[in-house]
């Protein structure tokens, strides 16, 4: 239709033809040539008018007008590049910050998994695990018998999928020669088919693969690209995982990063039956791995609801099965024990991560919304100020016959330009910011904006576009055509409505600024407190890394670690070296019930208490420099044949040995199979994370317990801790060429990972606070300069009448300080509300922290003074005569 449109030229030609035909006819009727021509022209009437009417009918006049308006807009913006740049950058910062935070929130809390029919997928959750079991996460993980029972139910779910990581950190892999570390998951045979994950190459797993514990693996697209250089020949080759050979049979589709919250899995293997490949990298207990240990709740479960099945219907069907399977290997529930209850949760965002990120993210979203509000009002104010100075232009246009609609269109076009430029820049900011955020938060999954985020951003931009178009219109129209004929600059400008609106907005911005600064102050002080929290040990000089040797027997394993320690101790630059099964500061802790002198350790109120425990090597506390209060540290002579010894912390002694010396007392596991004599009491120190409270804790010696597996090595170096890693790597290779150092880092960095959330949020809050300050300052500066400009004549008169420069400066400053005072008065109560809401995220700071409030108030006053200085001095330097001459 549109393509075959008739050109205006064609139409004009037809009119011309008409005239010729008419002239011919008139000549035939007997007119002279000249008369015929003239008359023919007359019969047509106004040919131009007809052509124009035709043109208007067939062309998208509005589009042409739009293009013209846009062109005009560009020209007009280019005339004041400073204004355009400020407006665009302000908008980009405000919108970009919102896009970035919303993008993170979307990935973490809202986004569905990148699989088919993701709405049918649900995470399985339990209220607890039964007494007498061990669990990784009391809400998320299940035992193998539970998985086995649930997958055999028919009807409620079309697939039940189990998965667990092969290590809490990374596992040793080898492809070709060099040992590396990678993140791997063990998964059920239904993993790819049940989730609906497509494979880019090869195939996924089958139920048979799971039953046979087939030694096949699927690698992720990212891993394939990164480590295999997208080699298409990769299928059929061998990947060694902890020394076990797996044939690569598939590459997963791009975009699927696995189900581990916040991480991106590199490869998957079918649920294995191999002591070298236990769930979570745990050493097999009594030679039993997760498959044979019904009391270890270690598998995460995700299910696909059958079509038409609701969550509650599915739960109703599965609950009895679940509660029966929960006690496999345990017998009957203990008296008075509440059996675990199964529930289902939509598989969205990061699953179990959502809880820890949810609150801070909502908080950040609130902060950036305030920033956006400041940014939008800023740009609107700038536009209003700018357009007020253009009143002459508008007035002239109105006088020349432009309609109000025409003016609105022109203003909207300018606004569209600003918003488009700002929006594009904002999107760029957001892309960079999400990447930076992911790194800071140590999230491997992509946080990049998707379609939902794009819609969100476009929504904000549309709102901004309309606001920026309409807000200045009032000012533009205020003058009317009459202004054009006024020649007096001073009077023409003072006519513009007093900027009470502008003052209100500035005061509001100041209030929001106070809120943001208080929030930022509280969070930054929280971070400082966390960073300065004494760890109870000397972390400077400590380096830590993991090793996962190929272990064939208990004796061989112990021997390996003994040799490793011996080799490391003699390395130049190493002061001391020790081992630990669970890396300290990793955020993980192993907890179980203990018997003290044959009786279950109980709280004051009689409840059995979980005790933290870890398995460590000789010189552990000496290496960490944790003070030993009583007794001694583990030593090399605490060997397998020596009497079993254990060490407890102060808190343990306080709770279970009140008023007694614990040395010499007997500590045992819940089932009584392992017992040890307490030989030392150490001072409480941080174990799992920086912000934890002291908990009763006990340590075993690795050489004396009947399990050995992956361990972490702690080294105290003389110089920079990481500088000794190359020589350490050599020493480890000499023992076993297959072993990579797993996640080597300083112990400080390891502890910092436990406050990475707080660090991230504090940094962001600080950044947003700063952003708010800058925006408020530019906004105030813009408004003031404009107002001073308007009042040039008035100031000139005042000075001519004897006002001193100081008085003029004070006049301007007083005005801003008044606004700041109003803003502070409104902002402090608001900040108090926000502070209360933040309370649970604070550490060592009260919500009513005087320091944060003082700094915020000072900050706002400084902003007010700083932004006013330049306009005020400019006002004071007005030459009275010059100013009056502009009249």
């Amino acid at each position: 239709m549109i393509g075959r449109k008739r050109s205006a030229k064609d139409f004009a030609e037809e009119i011309k033809a008409h005239i010729e035909l008419e002239a011919d006819e008139l000549r035939q009727e007997g007119l002279s040539d000249e008369d015929a021509q003239r008359k023919a022209h007359i019969t047509v009437g106004n040919a131009r008018l007809a052509e124009e009417r035709y043109y208007r009918r067939t062309h998208w006049v509005w589009l042409e007008n739009l293009v013209r308006d846009l062109r005009l807009g560009v020209r007009s913006l280019l005339q004041s590049p400073g204004f355009a740049l400020t407006a665009i950058v302000t908008l980009a910062l405000g919108v970009g910050a919102n896009t970035a935070v919303f993008s993170v929130m979307n990935s973490v809390l809202l986004a569905a998994l990148p699989v088919e029919h993701a709405d049918q997928l649900v995470y399985l959750r339990t209220t607890n695990s039964p007494k007498g079991t061990g669990t990784v996460d009391s809400r998320d993980t299940f035992s193998y018998p539970v998985y086995d029972a649930l997958r055999k139910q028919g009807g409620a779910m079309s697939a039940v999928i189990a998965f667990a990581p092969l290590s809490t950190s990374k596992v040793a892999v080898r492809y070709g020669k060099d040992p590396e570390q990678a993140e791997g998951d063990m998964v059920s045979g239904t993993f790819f088919s049940g989730l609906g994950v497509r494979l880019m190459r090869g195939h996924g797993f089958t139920a048979q693969d799971e039953a046979d514990h087939a030694q096949v693996t699927v690698i992720s697209y990212g891993y394939w690209k990164r480590q295999f250089a997208s080699n298409p020949e990769v299928l059929g080759t061998t990947l060694y995982v902890n020394g076990v050979a797996f044939t690569i049979v598939g590459v997963s589709a791009e975009g699927f990063e696995g189900l581990e919250p916040g991480k991106s899995t590199d490869f998957w293997i079918p649920l294995p039956n191999n002591p070298a490949l236990n769930a979570w990298g745990n050493p097999p207990e009594d030679g039993k791995i997760y498959l044979r240990k019904p009391t270890w709740w270690c598998l995460r479960l995700i299910g696909r609801l059958s079509p038409g099945m609701t969550k509650s219907q599915a739960v109703a069907r599965m609950q009895p099965l679940f509660q029966r399977a929960a006690y496999v290997g345990l017998g009957e529930p203990m008296k008075g024990e509440r059996p675990p209850v199964l529930s289902l949760e939509d598989a969205k965002g990061f699953g179990s991560f959502s809880e820890s990120y949810g609150r801070p993210l909502h908080m950040l979203m609130g902060m950036v919304a305030l920033v956006l509000l400041i940014a939008l009002t800023n740009v609107a104010m700038l536009l209003m100020a700018r357009n007020a100075t253009r009143q002459r232009e508008f007035s002239m246009k109105l006088a020349l016959g432009a309609s109000r609609g025409d003016l609105l269109k022109q203003l909207l076009a300018e606004s569209v330009l600003l918003v488009t430029a700002g929006g594009l820049l904002a999107w760029g900011f957001a892309l960079a910011a999400t990447r930076a955020l992911a790194t800071w938060a140590q999230i491997e999954s992509s946080l990049a904006p998707d379609k939902t985020v794009l819609l969100f951003t476009l929504g904000i931009l549309a709102l901004a576009g309309i606001l920026f178009g309409v807000a200045p219109l009032r000012v533009a129209l205020a003058s009317g055509p009459a202004l054009a004929v006024k020649t007096n600059a001073a009077t023409s400008r003072t006519d513009a409505g007093k900027s009470r609106m502008g003052r209100t907005i500035v005061a509001l911005q100041m209030a929001l600024c106070v809120v943001l600064l208080v929030g930022a102050g509280l969070l930054i002080r929280t971070l400082r407190n966390l960073e300065n929290t004494p760890l109870g040990m000397n972390v400077s000089g400590l380096a830590v890394f993991g090793v996962n040797p190929h272990i064939t027997s208990l004796e061989q394993g112990r021997e390996f670690y003994r040799q490793l320690i011996d080799a490391l101790r003699v390395l130049p630059g190493v002061e001391s070296a020790t081992l630990m099964e669970e890396r300290i500061g990793s955020g993980w802790s192993d907890n179980s019930y203990f018997k003290v002198d044959g009786k279950l350790a109980r709280d004051a109120d009689g409840h059995a208490t979980l005790v933290r425990n870890n398995v460590v090597g000789p010189d552990f506390f000496t290496t960490l420099q944790v003070p030993i209060l009583e007794g001694r540290d583990f030593t090399d002579s605490d060997s397998a044949n020596a009497p079993h010894v254990g060490i407890i912390n102060e808190e343990f002694a306080k709770r279970f040995f009140p008023g007694i010396n614990p040395i010499g007392h007997i500590l045992g596991t819940e089932n009584g199979e392992y017992q040890m004599r307490i030989v030392g009491v150490v001072k409480d120190h941080k174990y799992r994370s920086i912000d934890e409270e002291p908990m009763p804790m006990a340590w075993y010696d690795y050489a004396q317990i009947p399990v050995v597996g992956q361990m972490s090595v702690e080294l105290r170096a003389h110089g920079a801790p990481l500088a000794i890693l190359p020589s350490v790597r050599m020493a480890v290779r000499q023992l076993d060429p297959n072993l990579p150092l797993i996640e080597p880092m300083t112990q400080r960095a390891q502890f910092d990972t436990t406050i990475s959330n707080q660090m991230l949020f504090a940094r962001l809050a600080g950044f947003f606070g700063l952003l708010a300050v800058v925006l408020v300052a530019t906004g105030l500066y813009g408004t003031l300069s404009y107002r001073v400009n308007m009042r040039t004549a008035e100031i000139g008169v005042r000075m001519a009448l004897g006002a001193q420069r100081g008085q003029v400066i004070w006049m301007i400053l007083r005005d801003s300080l008044l606004l700041a005072a109003i803003g502070i008065a409104a902002g402090v109560p608001l900040a108090m509300m926000v502070g209360n809401a933040l309370e649970s995220s604070l550490y060592g700071v009260k919500a009513l922290d005087v320091m944060s409030y003082t700094l915020a108030v000072l900050g706002v006053v400084l902003v007010a003074l700083f932004a006013s200085t330049l306009p005020a001095t400019r006002a004071a330097s007005v030459e009275p005569l010059q100013a009056l001459r502009t009249e």
Binding site: F11, A17, L21, E25, R57
Partner: protein, 123 residues
């Protein structure tokens, strides 16, 4: 009041009328724009003086509605001209418009033939 309403009606009426007259003048085969103008003028005994500008815009409108189609050709005295032709849809429209027009004029005639004007009738 009454006259003002009549006025606006007349404009609308005339526009529709021009369409009808164009369609009618194309019944016997393709005619170019100037021919249409002449035909209307001549057949109405010079009562209608067609504004040619409006005529061409009207032709364009009818073409867009697909009631007529056009193509460039050569006139009997060897001049280049754009010839218009009725489409099937145009023929349908012509029949419909004609009967509509007849009904309208009939109704108007009847009103005009009543001895007293509407005002007096009301009184």
């Amino acid at each position: 009041m009454a006259t003002r309403e009549n006025n606006s009606d007349r404009i609308a009426l005339l526009q529709g009328t021009l369409d009808l007259l164009i369609l009618k003048s194309l019944v016997f085969g393709p005619v170019h724009g100037q021919g249409v103008a002449r035909a209307i003028q001549r057949q109405s005994d010079d009562v209608f003086l067609v504004d040619h500008g409006s005529l061409y815009v009207a032709l364009q409108r009818l073409e867009e509605k697909k009631w007529i189609r056009a193509k460039w050709g050569v006139s009997e005295n060897n001049r280049k001209a754009r010839f218009y032709q009725l489409t099937a849809k145009g023929r349908e429209q012509l029949a419909e418009k004609t009967s509509e027009w007849r009904r309208l004029t009939h109704a108007v005639e009847r009103i005009l033939d009543v001895p007293h004007g509407p005002e007096t009738e009301e009184a």
